[in-house]
Amino acid sequence: MTRTLIIGDSHAIVLKAGSAWLSMPRLEPLLIGAVATANDLMKPFFEARDGVIEFTDAEVRRRVEALMGTPSLDPRELEWVGLSMGMHDTFFHRDEMWTRMAPVALAGGDRRRLPVSQAAFAAMVEAFVEWPIRFARTLADGGAKVFVIGAPPPHRTHPGMQDPDDRVVRLAVSEKYRTLAARAFSAAGISVVQTPATAYDPDGFLRSDLMPARTEDLHHGNAKFGVYMLREIDRFMLIQERVEASRREQARLRAAAAPEEDRPEALRSVS
């Protein structure tokens, strides 16, 4: 049985490539697959029927079946599920609107862009993460331990980052998106494994040694970036296991200290 399932958009491919580079017993058996495009995940793509997740998008369903051997997901049969979705913001920060608009703090002065209020910005982010959050929540409600995986920061080489003013706005938009998306997942009770600060260069872009070899790829990381993220996932799971073990131990001690008649049967003294 798979212990850790990692699925999501094309950034999952990088994680799969990274997994070939290192051994992580805690995650094993590990299954990683890209089952959708980022676009697929921004609209309704699944339904829960009797606790089982059925994918409504035919292409997603086909890819899930190719990966898992079954076209649906039953959260009760899953232990850890990592989702590569929702934290990827290239679609957001590269949009043409940011040449005319900007978050309030960056809109004034010489930039002369229409300001976007914090509340409107948050509403935009919420629209982007709505379906990933629903998906994560459905898995978690079914009993799986779910976390969302951070995506690489913007590429310095992206055409949208070449104009100095656009660069300032888009980098700020990207950072703000990640913060708000992570907050939205957390508010829904879903943990986020953030992209480590070491993956960023001093200007806030993806470090050059973590960029893919193909220059036409303008938003993924490379296998080394995958390794970075898998290590973060490993660390996250270790902490979660320790927290869980600690909780179990505290519950055991509380039960042992309770009056004899209130203890669970296993902890009662045998007369």
Binding site: D9, S10, I13, K16, G33, A34, A36, T37, A38, N39, M42, K43, R62, R63, A66, F91, F92, R94, D95, E96, M97, M101, V104, A105, A107, G108, L114, P115, V116, S117, Q118, A119, A120, F121, A123, M124, A127, F128, E216, D217, L218, H219, H220
Partner: protein, 346 residues
Amino acid sequence: MNPYSRMPSRAFWRSGVAAAGPLEFAELYEPRFPLGAEDRISTAGSCFAQHIGRRLASAGFKYQDFEPGPPLLPREAWQRFGYGIYSARYGNIYTARQLLQTFERAFGEREPCEAAWISDKRVHDPFRPSIEPEGFADLDEFRAMQDAHFSAVRRLFEETDIFVFTFGLTEAWRDRRDGSVFPVCPGTVAGTFDDCIHEFHNFAFAEVYEDMRTFMAKVRAINPRMRYLFTVSPVPLTATASGQHVLSATTYSKSVLRAVAGQLAAEDDDVDYFPSYEIVTTPTSRGLHYRANMREVAPAGVDLVMKHFFDMHPPPPVAAPAAPWRRPVRHPEDVWCDEAKLELMS
């Protein structure tokens, strides 16, 4: 023979209205000037004006939006944030005084005593209390958004060819200290009502007329080519603070507004009046054009109004579709990253 014997059927109630039924009025409206495909049209006013702007835009007229919503904001959220409702994000402008005040504030001619309402660390605009549902994050955001708004309003009045304004109310709440009027009573949507500061005022014909004349003179000074298309909202008052029955108060309010619109149209060649009020409220409709609450205009009522409008102002040949919320478009780079990469995995 007498003067009535040569008059057309539209001059007589029986043939012009009673026999016509509630759905078709022949020769009800004769435009004073055409709406051309190249005329830049802007809208403002009370709730009913929202329908007019929306329909003009979807019919392909050159409808202006000087403060457009962020394209990545879902369309269903636009209204909540006051985007896409009128040609700038000023919310409902119910009274003539509020229209004049909007112009004066945008051009730096007026600074109200009550500039912001602060509660629970959120900031509301007393003059646009509904445009940010939870209020602005702080005073800096409030000021930045207000500056951008006034800049949009200035452009609107400088660059508009035809300004469509729907008169809504004569009743208003105002600041005793400087006479600034609020779109809604302080303490209802936001803010706190203070009897010592806020007072009720029901504008009379002369005041509404004078405010409109002043407004038009100010606009003419910066944009002499702007023409006006006035309508009166057929939406009755939700409530009155006048002490009268709300039915009487509504009749007073609409009568004054209709009379002012008529007077302005009679005096000024650059003013036209479109009788949407009459189409919806005619006795022959027996309330047919209202929703069940007998206040809001039903979609079919709006359709009827706009049918009469477009009969006389035919839309340009090629209608430009209204901009929907744009899900992020697929870039060429995505074709490689999402599709090609996924194919590698299959």
